[in-house]
Amino acid sequence: MDDDFPEDMLDDDEDLDMLDDDLDMLTGDPALDIVQNTMETFFSAARVEAVYGEPVENGDHLIIPTAEILSAMGFGAGTGFGTGPEDEDGSTGSGGGSGGGGGGRVLSRPVAVVIASPEGVRVEPVIDLTKIALAALTAGGFMAAMVMGILNPRKALRSMRGS
């Protein structure tokens, strides 16, 4: 297992037991490696090092980028076994199988930059104008719809119904 895997995320016995139970179902299954790798990627998002990037030296300045990380994932696994109907000779066939699947997403966004210079340490924010413009459009649209609905509720209702 990767050295970076944050053991403190799974430090209680209950968590480890339940995770082991989930993974035991897939023992011998190629899906096991995929699940383990995915779990490691997921839990690595909780590390402090995931938020603060590697410091970069630039002349007299030391720059540390910071980012917000949002990571989500889910997975499931199952097994099943059964026996077939009894043959004429009295024997029964049996079979089983197991399977699993999952998915996830990691999103990150720069938040600020820490700059250490001979004058001192300061934090410069990273402003995402696209996100702000989209928020302004959303808020403006909401306000316009509300005002239209209050001024002329029948017309607003008709436009909502598309007639």
Binding site: V48, V51, E68, L70, G74, A116, A135, T138
Partner: protein, 96 residues
């Protein structure tokens, strides 16, 4: 705190440069889905602790300006709409 939801502040490895030490801190929200079949982690920078050569300490918060502006816009829109609805003229009240 319940087991499925944890909010914690974590400190990172101190970074030493030119006589000062910078210690980063993060705020982590962890949600575990029922049955431990996955979860959600929201990790964001919270502040840095700057320790000078003579031992003086200063905490500098890291503010997410983009998020502040986003939520301010949403709140302003909701508040404006609520105020407009509350103080609308009587003629409009009769119609609604």
């Amino acid at each position: 705190m319940s087991n499925w939801l944890t909010i914690e502040t974590r400190g990172g490895e101190p970074i030493a440069t030119r006589g000062i030490t910078i210690t980063p801190f993060t705020r982590t929200l962890t949600v575990r889905f029922p049955g431990r079949k996955g979860g959600l982690i929201w990790n964001r920078p919270q502040s840095i602790l700057v320790t000078g050569a003579s031992g003086e300490e200063e905490i500098i918060p890291i503010r997410d300006i983009t998020r502040y502006v986003q939520w301010t816009l949403y709140a302003a829109a909701a508040l404006s709409a609520a105020l407009f609805w509350l103080f609308r003229p009587k003629s409009m009240r009769d119609r609604t």
